[in-house]
Subunit: 315 residues, 2 copies
C-alpha cells in the first residue's frame, strides 16, 4: 500500500506566535535539490564598497582595522528608506561592509572578524539608543540578488525608527504571557522543546531549525543566557555566536553553493523596562517563491521539513 | 533649496489593520520604470492545461463551454498542499484553467468569459462550504514565474482548509470593532476616504490603490454593496466586477508588459454568523523584492506612492 507510506503534510503553529505554516513533506525533495547558486558576481565597473573607493560613500561612521587596513567599514546608506529629515519616516539607515575583499561571502571571513562584526552590530545599536526619539534598530542582511542585495560586496544594514515593529511587539507580548503563565521564558524553553531540530550548540549559544519553519533551511540562533539584546552579550558569548554563524552559514553556503538568504536580528524595543524578550537571529534562506497563497492567507508552504533541514545543516 | 523639494518618505498605517508600510517617495521612479515583462512562455513540450491533454489532469470537477468547446476547466491540483487524506493538513486544492488558449493572459479573455470565471469562483466556494469540516476557501492567482506560477498557461487555484487564516480573522475583528464604534463598515468607508486613489468604479464596484499599499501598483477591488463573499454578488455585480478586472488588469499588463502579480480573494469565514466582513480582492504586483527589512520588521518598503499608481492605472 504505497499511499500510506507517502509523507503527510501538516499545519504547524509557531511555539509562541499565532503563526501557521504548512510543512509540505509530500513534495519529498532532498537537501541537494535546493542548490541555488548566487555567488557574488565578479566586480564589473566600480564597487563603492571596495578599498580605494572610500571617498564614494557617505562619510564614515566607524571602522575596524586588521594589520593597519580596514576590515569592516560602517557609513550611512546613500539610498536611505528613513532619515532624520523625514518627519513621518524618522530614523537612520546605515551600511556595515563586512569585509574589504569583494569576493568574500560572510561565511568566508575569519571567525575573529565575524566576532568583530557582531561587536559593531552591538555598538551601532547602543549608539542609536542614545537618540531618545528612536525606539528600535533593525539589523538585517540581504545576501544574493533574489534576497534583495543590490550590491554584490557582502554587507549588513541597520534601519532605526521611531516605532517598534509589530512583529517585535507580538513576540514580546506572546513571551510575556508565556512567562507569566509558566514562569519560564518561551525562548529559553525552545532550547528544550527543539532538541530534535538542533543544528549547533555549545555552552553559550544554541542554533536550531524551528518546528514551524516558514522557509526551507530556516534557522534561529540565540544566546543560552536570557538576554534581550546582542549588546548585552559578553565577549565569550559573542565568540560563540561568531563560531556558530561561521559554521552554520558556512555549511549552508557549501551545501547549496552560496544561496540567497536574509537574516534579521530580533532585539528588545529600546523602551522596554522589563525583560520579556530573548535576543535571537532569524536566518531565512530564499529558496521558495512566496506566492498568492502565502500573501493571501499569510501561511507559508515549506516543502523542507525542519527535521530534515536540521540534519542536513548539522551533519 | 533643492533639499526641501525632495519628496519625503513616510510611514503609513492600513485603514483597519495595525499594519505599516514605508512609502519611499524619495526613490522617485516613474511608472514606466517598473516595466517587468513576464509574458507566458511559448509552449515547450506538453502543456497539461491545453485542449487535447485533458486526460493528463486529475478527473475534471467542472467546465464552462463556449460554442461547444470548453473555455474554463476545473480539476484537483496534482501537486496538492492539502488533502482530505491528511489529518493535519485537511483540505482541497483545485485548479481553474481560465482559458483554453495557451497564449492568453487573464486580461486577454473576453469580458463575458471573465464573468463566467467569477461565477466558477463563487460556485467552487459554495460547493466547499457544504463540507462541514472546512472553514475557509482561499482563491488566489500566481501570474508570472517570480509570482510563483510554475506553469505558463493562465490559471487560478483554490485551497480550502479546516482553519480560518489569521489575516482573515484580523481583518474581521478590526472591521467588527470599527463597525461597532462608528456604525459603519470600514471597507464601505474606504470608498469615501480613498477617493484620491480611485482607479475604476461604476455603481456596483470600486477599485482603488490603498493608502498604505505594500506593493507597487497594489490595488483592491470590492463590491459597493456590503456583502461578505463573491457568492453573494448578483449577476449585475459580477458583470461589473468582470469589467473592472478586465479593464484594470489590462491596463497593468499593457503599461508594464505583462508583469508578475498575485491576487487573492478575501471572503468571510464559512462559520461567520454575523456580517462584519466585506468581500474584496487584493491584487499584488510583484515588482519589488521582499528583503531582510520586510521579513525582519514585517514593514514593506514601497517606492511607488499609491496616488501615482492610481493615476497611472486610471489614465
Amino acid at each position: 500500500m504505497p499511499d500510506t507510506a507517502e509523507p503527510k503534510n501538516e499545519f504547524r503553529k509557531d511555539f509562541l506566535l499565532n503563526r501557521w505554516v504548512i510543512i509540505a513533506a509530500n513534495r519529498g525533495r532532498r537537501p541537494e535539490d535546493y542548490v541555488h547558486s548566487q555567488r557574488s558576481e565578479k566586480k564589473e565597473g566600480i564597487c563603492f564598497f571596495c578599498p580605494g573607493n572610500e571617498h564614494l560613500t557617505p562619510p564614515e561612521i566607524s571602522r575596524r582595522e586588521v594589520n593597519g587596513k580596514w576590515a569592516i567599514r560602517n557609513f550611512p546608506n546613500k539610498f536611505y528608506a528613513v532619515s532624520l529629515d523625514f518627519p513621518n519616516a524618522y530614523g537612520t539607515h546605515e551600511v556595515i561592509v563586512e569585509s574589504s575583499d569583494h569576493t568574500n561571502h560572510l561565511s568566508d571571513i575569519p571567525e575573529a572578524q565575524m566576532k568583530m562584526l557582531l561587536e559593531v552590530y552591538a555598538e551601532r545599536i547602543e549608539a542609536s539608543r542614545k537618540n531618545p526619539n528612536l525606539k528600535y534598530a533593525l539589523i538585517f542582511k540581504n545576501q544574493g540578488h533574489t534576497a534583495g542585495a543590490s550590491l554584490g560586496h557582502t554587507h549588513t544594514q541597520m534601519i532605526t525608527m521611531a516605532h517598534v515593529p509589530n512583529i517585535v511587539r507580538l513576540e514580546r507580548d506572546a513571551n510575556k504571557e508565556y512567562t507569566q503563565n509558566s514562569g519560564k521564558c518561551g525562548y529559553c524553553e525552545m532550547m528544550n522543546v527543539e532538541r530534535e531540530r538542533v543544528i549547533w550548540e555549545d555552552d553559550k549559544v544554541f542554533c536550531f531549525a524551528p518546528y514551524a519553519s516558514r522557509f526551507s533551511f530556516e534557522h534561529w540562533i540565540m544566546p543560552k543566557r536570557h538576554v534581550g539584546c546582542i549588546s548585552k552579550m559578553d565577549s565569550g558569548e559573542l565568540g560563540s555566536l561568531a563560531k556558530c554563524m561561521k559554521t552554520v552559514l558556512g555549511k549552508l553556503d557549501k551545501m547549496l553553493d552560496y544561496p540567497p538568504y536574509n537574516f534579521a536580528l530580533h532585539i528588545d524595543p529600546f523602551n522596554a523596562t522589563t525583560q520579556f524578550y530573548h535576543f535571537h537571529i532569524e536566518v531565512m534562506p530564499r529558496l521558495n517563491i512566496t506566492a498568492g497563497f502565502e500573501l493571501g492567507a499569510e501561511i507559508y508552504i515549506n516543502p523542507m521539513p525542519p527535521e530534515k533541514a536540521a540534519k542536513a545543516l548539522r551533519d
